[in-house]
Symmetry: C2
Subunit: 244 residues, 2 copies
Amino acid sequence: MANLLTRKLEAFAPLSEADRHLLDAVIREARDVGSREDLIREGDAPGDVRLILAGFACRYKRLADGRRQIMAYLVPGDFCDLHVFILKAMDHTIATLSPCRVVEIPRRRILEMPERPALARALWWAALVDEATLREWLVNIGARPAEQRVAHLLCELLLRLRTVGLTNHDSYELPITQTELADTVGLTNVHVNRVLQRLRGDGLITLRGKHLVILDVERLNAFSGFTPNYLHLAAPNSVAEQSH
Amino acid sequence: MANLLTRKLEAFAPLSEADRHLLDAVIREARDVGSREDLIREGDAPGDVRLILAGFACRYKRLADGRRQIMAYLVPGDFCDLHVFILKAMDHTIATLSPCRVVEIPRRRILEMPERPALARALWWAALVDEATLREWLVNIGARPAEQRVAHLLCELLLRLRTVGLTNHDSYELPITQTELADTVGLTNVHVNRVLQRLRGDGLITLRGKHLVILDVERLNAFSGFTPNYLHLAAPNSVAEQSH
DNA sequence: CGTACTATTGATAGATATCAACGCTGGTGG
DNA sequence: CCACCAGCGTTGATATCTATCAATAGTACG
């Protein structure tokens, strides 16, 4: 299996053999983290750069009334905090949603990237896509009704997971609870439950346990208003399918 | 009057005399743009870097049903697109909300920044703060009820405008329509209108025309759950007051 | 002094949250 | 291996919030 990270970064532009080797080296010393553990907390000083190799993690904030808002999903190939080390304190918490495999990359590894222009650009790209995704989530929560909101999220995840080879045709594993889904789209767990039932009823998806199948991608895209432009993928059609 | 941009960047860390001169030079050739003009549109290729010197602008996306979501306010001292030139196409539109004064900074000016570490770090910081603000907006829209939502926005703007010297005690000019406010917090213009009335009725603010007065900052902060940590300001108390 | 936004108000509809309960499942300890 | 427990998904009834629709009143501006 190809290195997950190179695979993702090459969705932007090809890398040299040397760059790929460097990325391989970076990924060696991963560790496993259990489900629902905080990786770094709001207020902590940012340390090394973390990269998710397997599992789902998220960024979130908790409000005074106990409500929590998930602001990003981190899926395999995503960096937790590529550039934050400039800042003195984290302004949000990062936690696993499922069991995860995580690498910690020494800060200096990242700092020496400028010597490798293609790699540096690829990391830039990754950071810009993260930000663009955040903007799209804002649109999603701010302007779309409940059903299109969760549908949109499912469409986005299909593409993101596909670029790292974690889809099987139009299905993937979504190791997330309905309550967590609710915290990400700004709805109640009860309401999310009903929304999912309606999406199932409309023949758009199948979701049993943690296994999601999108029955008609075109229709789900159209329904939710999903357009992948904000993911800034180089060649939308060139991504190969691969089951884990 | 001190250079607005240096003033903002020094909210992160002091700059050298040379750096400040460079920023002064960058700002010379500004142009005026009318209200409600698009500066760059979704789909366009990013060009030079733009910086707002006066007035309010915003990032927004428009959905198929005509609804629009504003994803960021750009106030004086804010960059429109610091690093996007890596990408091939804009994924959102940037437009003025009021008459604005804008500089276009040649891309190469930005690219030579790495030779000035303090400056480079300051620009990094600005970009990270933009992203952190975006996250906070997501929390705002996703998890806070209507009144706290708009209250929170007003609290944020007070601080952001203060760091560039555009506040007068606890008041500032908010050259924005209620409908635009509605498009940013994900509510209806009618509802925003009622929310504002309640905030007025509770003695929290005064808003006549475009002039906003926050009557009790502490209370508004507490009410809306505002904490400025995500703005990553170096010295919260050291900012001087200055009326325009 | 019209004209066109913008702000405001009232009445009503619709969406989403809240509250409460129940069944299912997977894991865990006896 | 079974009994228990806790978390998760599901359902129903109801309350609350926010949107919609429609109209009127300010306000700015040519």
